[in-house]
């Protein structure tokens, strides 16, 4: 088992290098640091000194790949690629273009992100699985038909609408919870409850439909017919046999997104003013802070690869048919 995990982890190193090189190309080669400086300083009448100054402050003045003026290994380390990209592997994110420590910001902001993402995931799973089981129980009836219609309709509504509509209805008309904001500790619950509910509702359409498909696939299998032939009641068949086996694809689907929960949701967080990593990313995009966007790209990729790794491991844990090879 251990050897398998280690081998899988080693496989992900080239992928991380690929991500790193890709972001480096995108951020430094497609557009030179000069372009970035000009963009950030305002386009008109920028003196070359100002650009040089801006680059110097943020460490973009070094050559990209090879520093001919340095000595020894410094020829490779005193470059933008080494300073800005290679250091990401050690999770040294450096400071943002506005001078803040990115690593510190991330460690502070990931908790609000988790506070909203974890409840949405757990409650959403419970709601979707129960609803899908209900539909599977009443399959091929009007309940089934209209539930599928409802799911398709809910899938077709933009997530933005759920947020705007929910904010308007609950916060502005009914004054139940504040529209947006955040607080520390238990006080944050009143700020989190509305985004969590909206997150769950927004996911019902696609989630329930997907789980229903999984359940129905399972229901048509031979062992279910055997179970019924033995005289088991329908509820017993559904809960003991179908649910248990359908949980395998559901669980592995969840495991892959677990690490990404840290990244938070871009839209929800910025609508509700929650100071998580999602709104951090959006603010960076809007203020064109490249150092932050670069760090988030790398962090997101690491978490995704971690998710893949965990999925593979969880497969081997829940499904004995999958062998380690």
């Amino acid at each position: 088992m251990m050897a398998y995990i280690v081998r899988r982890a080693i496989y992900s190193i080239p992928i991380l290098i690929g991500v790193n090189v890709l972001t480096f190309l995108l951020f430094f080669v497609v557009n030179s640091p000069d372009d970035m400086a000009r963009m950030n300083l305002g386009l008109k009448r920028v003196t070359p000194e100002a650009i040089e100054n801006w680059k110097q402050e943020r460490g973009y003045h070094l050559p990209l790949l090879y520093n001919a003026s340095a000595q020894g290994t410094a020829r490779l380390t005193e470059t933008v690629f080494f300073q800005k990209s290679v250091k990401l592997f050690r999770f040294e994110f450096g400071s943002s273009d506005s001078g803040r420590d990115i690593g510190y910001d991330i460690s502070q902001r990931m908790w609000p992100s988790l506070a909203i993402a974890v409840p949405v995931l757990i409650v959403g799973l419970l709601v979707n699985i129960s609803y899908a089981l209900l539909i599977a129980f009443f399959r091929a009836t009007y309940i089934d038909f209209w539930s599928v219609v409802l799911c398709v309709v809910m899938m077709s509504i933009s997530g933005l609408f759920y947020i705007i509509g929910g904010q308007y209805l609950i916060s502005k008309l009914l004054h139940l919870v504040p529209i947006s904001g955040y607080d520390t500790g238990l006080n944050s619950i009143k700020f989190l409850i509305l985004p969590a509910i909206i997150g769950v509702i927004g996911g019902i359409g696609s989630g329930t439909r997907w789980y229903r498909t999984l359940f129905l696939e399972e229901i048509n299998k031979d062992y279910v017919r055997t179970a019924r032939a033995k005289g088991l009641s329908e509820t017993r068949v559904l809960f003991r046999h179908v649910l248990k086996n359908a949980l395998i694809p559901i669980l592995t689907g969840v495991v892959v997104i677990l690490p990404l929960l840290f990244m938070g949701s871009l839209i929800t967080e910025s609508f509700f003013g929650i100071p998580g990593l999602g709104s951090y990313t959006i603010d960076a995009i809007n203020s064109q802070d490249f150092a932050i966007v670069r760090s988030m790209v790398f962090l997101g990729s690491v978490l995704y690869i971690l998710g893949l790794l965990m999925t593979d491991i969880s497969y081997t844990l829940v499904d004995p048919r999958v062998r380690l090879s």
């Binding site: 080239p14 992928i15 690929g18 991500v19 890709l22 972001t23 995108l26 951020f27 497609v30 557009n31 372009d35 970035m36 000009r38 963009m39 386009l43 599928v148 398709v152 309709v153 899938m155 077709s156 509504i157 933009s158 997530g159 933005l160 609408f161 705007i164 904010q167 308007y168 502005k172 439909r209 229903r212 498909t213 129905l216 696939e217 048509n220 990404l260 990244m263 871009l266 839209i267 910025s270 990313t281 959006i282 995009i285 809007n286 064109q288 490249f290 966007v293 670069r294 988030m296 790209v297 997101g300 990729s301 995704y304 690869i305 893949l308």
Partner: protein, 470 residues
């Protein structure tokens, strides 16, 4: 009308896409294994109903994709026609009334007065603060109190016109059907109306009638009022929502056009050749896939913004600039979304290369290229088609989210995302300005819902193994 044609990048690609779709249609109609599922699609009531709705959207989108410089009012002294520097589309010139009738600022749907109070000077020199009359909306009424009666009158005219046109259309269709089946008109009409036909023509006629009535009704009202109100700078919201159709369709379709060659080529190559080719291609798509999509798009769009602001002189007009950004967005969305299809195709071609007839072709010494072209590609086309149709609605929804984060289409371009984005501030006003949001939502919802339903029908028809969803 004399005018100078302009072909924008996305226009050209749209027409390329239409050509490809027609070519695929002709190809599919000759192959039994592709004709049969399409037969299932057009026999399904949901399938044909949504096809009619999608056709309406598509026709607006296509009309809006023919751009030109309109001729100026008067020719110059030498009698030569002068073209305006403005770029408009065929659709713009068809609804030129909507485009021209600008108000000062917000006004509610079907309103006769502005949303905000203004000080106006009376004839006797005193000023009063009141809601001023709109310059265009309901300006034909001498007394605003007649508005309700006028709306009822216009609605009746519009609905009657729509009904008349749909009756004519229905009759033409039945005549064509009767001629095709060599039956009398009466027989055929009875069959259609009692839903006794193989293809559910009654559903087609019902949906077509509904769409036509809505079209004529809104056209009649829109000629006198702003039926969905006006936005902050007084532009007609109905016009904006209609213009956004093209943006949504372009994002939904061109993205797949961009991603298809890459996904098909690499997917088949990886599955067919295996070995190091497979390893390399798998590496490429795992790497691309592991970058969160939104962030990759954000990074690419940021870079594009830098490029555009540093090379502002390369773009002749705002329209061209916005168009290029739209194209770039499609490309980058394609780059982030080709991996899924690529993986599917890899798996399928891996299975196909072990099939007997491929092995036999191999033994006879048929070249790889020919095997792929003859045996593999035709057998994975249904997967490609299902993916394209399924992806469409997701892409339309994604556009709204991306525009909200400011990494979507150009802010000057009409799109549902930009409308929703501006609605965020409007919702905080008192009384609230809800019509921009509502208009964008209704138009988007109709398109996405029909696309979702249509996609389900197509998937069930082409892939019976996945057919448990309905």
């Amino acid at each position: 009308m004399i005018s100078q044609l302009v072909i924008l990048w996305t226009d050209a690609l749209i027409f390329l896409l239409i050509t490809l779709a027609v070519a695929f249609g002709v190809y599919a109609s000759r192959k039994a294994h592709l004709r049969r599922p399409w037969g299932l699609v057009v026999r399904s009531r949901v399938g044909v109903g949504t096809m009619v709705v999608l056709a309406f959207y598509l026709s607006v989108g296509v009309l809006d994709s023919i751009h030109f410089h309109p001729a100026a009012e008067s020719p110059d002294s030498a009698g030569k026609v002068i073209y305006s520097s403005e770029i408009i589309s065929l659709f713009d010139s068809m609804v030129s009334g909507l485009r021209a009738r600008q108000e000062k600022t917000y006004s509610a749907p079907l309103a006769t007065h502005l949303y905000a109070k203004e000080s106006t000077e009376q004839a006797d020199g005193s000023t009063i603060r009141d809601f001023p009359r709109l310059e265009h909306g309901g300006s034909h009424l001498s007394d605003p109190d007649q508005r309700d009666a006028d709306i009822v009158r216009l609605s009746a005219i519009g609905i009657l016109k729509g009904l008349a046109v749909s009756v004519v259309a229905a009759n033409i269709l039945i005549v064509l059907l009767a001629v095709a089946a060599r039956r009398t008109f009466g027989e055929r009409a009875r069959e259609v109306l009692s839903a006794n036909t193989e293809i559910p023509w009654r559903v087609v006629l019902t949906v077509l009638g509904m769409m036509l009535v809505i079209t004529f009704w809104s056209a009649e009202l829109a000629s006198r009022y702003h039926i969905l109100g006006t936005d902050k700078v007084g532009e007609d919201v109905f016009y904006q929502a209609l213009k956004s159709i093209r943006t949504g369709l372009v994002i939904g379709t061109l993205t797949t056009l961009v991603m298809l060659p890459l996904a098909i080529m690499l997917g088949i190559m990886a599955g067919y050749f295996r070995g190091w080719v497979d390893d390399l291609i798998q590496y490429v798509y795992t790497t691309l896939n592991s970058i969160p999509g939104v962030l990759l798009i954000a990074a690419a769009i940021l870079m594009l913004q830098i490029y555009m602001s540093n090379h502002a002189e390369e773009f002749n007009s705002l329209v061209e600039r916005a168009d290029l950004r739209l194209l770039f967005l499609c490309i980058i969305l394609g780059v982030t979304s080709w991996t899924g299809l690529c993986r599917l195709l890899r798996g399928e071609s891996m299975k196909l290369r072990e099939v007997d007839y491929v092995q036999a072709a191999n033994a006879f010494g048929v070249s790889h290229l020919q095997i792929i072209g003859r045996h593999i590609l035709p057998n994975v086309l249904h997967i490609v088609l299902i993916t394209v149709v399924l992806d469409f609605s997701g892409l339309v929804l994604a556009e709204a989210v991306l525009s909200y984060v400011n990494i979507g289409v150009d802010p000057t371009m009409n799109s549902w995302g930009n409308m929703i984005n501006s609605a965020r501030l409007e919702m905080a006003r008192e009384p609230i300005v809800w019509w921009s949001l509502a208009a964008a939502m209704i138009f988007m919802f109709t398109l996405v819902l029909s696309a979702n339903l249509f996609a389900d029908v197509v998937r069930d028809a082409f892939d019976p193994r996945l057919g448990s969803s309905r």
